[in-house]
């Protein structure tokens, strides 16, 4: 399953403060799009709004031919959106195996056995509780949990955050291995190295809007512009 994500003029915020101020973006079928931006520009708010954790005040979110903006979270998930949230949010009291079991809805493509083949570390830790895992193991578990939903669109919110460099490499390898799966991915990432290595296209967000959209190669070709957009001195 794969789908185009088309976000049009999406607005959302908390109370009276507007965080997303008319976001427009697309993620093509099977495309990996990296979303960059400084802290506080609205990247995580965008992810939360796409997942339905936050209700948009205006705008449209289409997944394939279906409008999903404003739907309850569980319906957005059933429409084919899965999230690997910031902070991983694995279920602490459940074992690795149960974290996976409750996510698996009968997908033939993604089974717990297949997850254990791709991520053997999780197989070793299958009887451990979520809160007994290292940060890297929790990240793998969060990715695995999302894959078991067999999503059309995967939202990844800072998968490298707080992980040791060697673990980041492992997570990147897993993300790279998903390339052949036809999965559309929207990746929020602070680590440019990670974003550049997995994304086909780079978007930059400033003050709740997308201000740059180009291929990864094009973005990298102009270092000065990249630094300016990301506010790197």
């Amino acid at each position: 399953m794969s789908a185009d994500l088309v976000v049009t003029n999406l607005r959302a915020g908390y109370g009276v403060s507007t965080v997303l101020d008319g976001v427009n973006l697309t993620v093509g079928a099977g495309e990996v799009v990296g979303l960059l931006g400084r802290n506080g520009v609205g990247k995580t708010t965008l992810m939360s709004t796409l997942m339905g954790w936050l209700s948009p005040s205006a705008g449209s979110v289409r997944l394939g031919d279906r409008e999903i903006a404003g739907l309850p979270t569980h319906q957005i998930a059933r429409a084919g959106v899965a999230i690997v949230p910031q902070g991983r949010r694995v279920f602490a009291p459940l074992t690795v195996e149960n974290n996976l079991r409750i996510a698996h809805k009968g997908s033939q493509r993604w089974t717990i056995e297949r997850i254990f083949e791709i991520m053997p570390r999780l197989a070793e830790r299958r009887r451990n509780r979520g809160d007994q895992l290292s940060g890297g193991e929790q990240q793998m578990l969060a990715i695995a949990r999302a894959l078991l939903l067999d999503p059309a669109l995967l939202l990844l919110d800072e998968p490298s955050d707080g992980l040791a460099p060697s673990v980041v490499t492992q997570v990147m390898e897993i993300l790279a291995s998903l390339r052949g799966e036809g999965l559309s991915v929207l990746l929020v990432e602070q680590d440019l190295h990670v974003a550049f290595s997995v994304a086909d296209r780079i978007l930059v967000m400033q003050k709740g809007r997308i201000v740059h959209d180009s291929t990864t190669e094009e973005f990298r070709s102009d270092g000065e512009r990249g630094r300016r957009l990301l506010g790197i001195a």
Partner: protein, 295 residues
């Protein structure tokens, strides 16, 4: 030491039977609070409804096991419906804090209490134990009512079943996950509203089941709803929120405090239960088996 046990054995067994009854109400309270974050003070009413169902059935028919089972089935059916109703009733208050939920459900408890008193009167109504279990057996040389042993057996079976469902099934894992992070569970495509209604219905059915089961020893009377509710809340505090094993251990502790404690130190009877709760809160604020994640 042995002398103490032999002279108090019957009281200890009584305490276990009472503890098991408290477990049926405390487990529901604990799950509803743990999973839905809803404080339901109408839970005692569900127990009392169960007890009055036992009164109705035993008045209308001879107290055979078949009719007692019928009362249990009716109580479970009515309890589930009432629980689902309470779940819908409290949903709009989900984001408004525990005080509002407590006020609403306390209001429901008052209304139900008055309706039951109108229907069944204000006097104590007794229920005979079902016929094969209305006799006595010898326990370590003392005579003991058979029915109380049946309560213990049924309660143990319930506790084991509840533990297995929560710890070993996918549904139980979902319930635990919802206690931990309901928003993330929704992102897995789960309609947590439906799950919560289900948990509320099961919790309420358990309380009504306990009401039927307990009727032959605690009878049915106005005020019993408040008594079991308060003890149930104490059990939840002692055992730890959202924990089946915690509710069971807490219920057994309070069962003993209410029987053995009162028998050994009658002048401190009123103080003992809440003293035990205060002691647990001082030493282990998350409860004996609580993990503190729901605090």
């Amino acid at each position: 030491m042995f002398g103490f046990f032999s002279s108090n054995l019957i009281t200890v067994v009584d305490g276990i039977a009472f503890g098991v009854l408290l477990f049926t109400i405390a487990l529901g309270l604990s799950l509803v609070f743990g999973v839905m974050d809803v404080l339901s003070l109408a839970h005692g009413s569900l127990y009392l409804i169960g007890s009055y169902i036992a009164v109705s059935v035993s008045t209308a028919f001879t107290p055979t096991l078949g009719f007692f089972v019928l009362a249990l089935v009716l109580a479970v059916a009515l309890g589930s419906l009432a629980g689902a109703g309470l779940s819908f009733l409290t949903r709009p208050l989900a984001s408004r804090g525990h005080l509002d939920q407590a006020l609403l459900t306390l209001g429901v408890a008052f209304v139900v209490g008055d309706l039951l008193a109108q229907q069944y009167g204000r006097e104590v109504r007794t229920v005979a134990p079902p016929s094969p279990f209305d006799g006595s057996v010898s326990v370590f040389g003392s005579t003991y009512p058979t029915y109380r042993l049946v309560i213990i057996a049924v309660g143990l079976a319930l506790a084991i079943a509840a533990y297995l469902v929560i710890e070993r099934t996918k549904m139980g894992a979902l319930v635990q996950a919802t206690v931990a992070d309901a928003q993330m569970v929704r992102a897995l495509g789960v309609n947590t509203g439906r799950l919560m209604t289900g948990v509320f219905a099961v919790g309420a059915a358990l309380a009504a089941f306990g009401g039927v089961l307990g009727a032959p020893i605690l009878n049915a009377a106005p005020g019993l709803d408040n008594r079991v509710l308060i003890l149930g809340l104490v059990v939840v505090v002692i055992g730890g929120l959202g924990s089946v094993a915690g509710a069971f251990v807490g219920a057994l502790v309070i069962g003993q405090v209410q029987t053995l404690g009162v028998s050994l130190a009658p002048s401190y009877a009123a103080f003992l239960t809440f003293g035990a709760m205060a002691l647990v809160l001082l030493l282990r604020p998350a409860g004996i088996l609580g993990k503190g994640r729901l605090a």
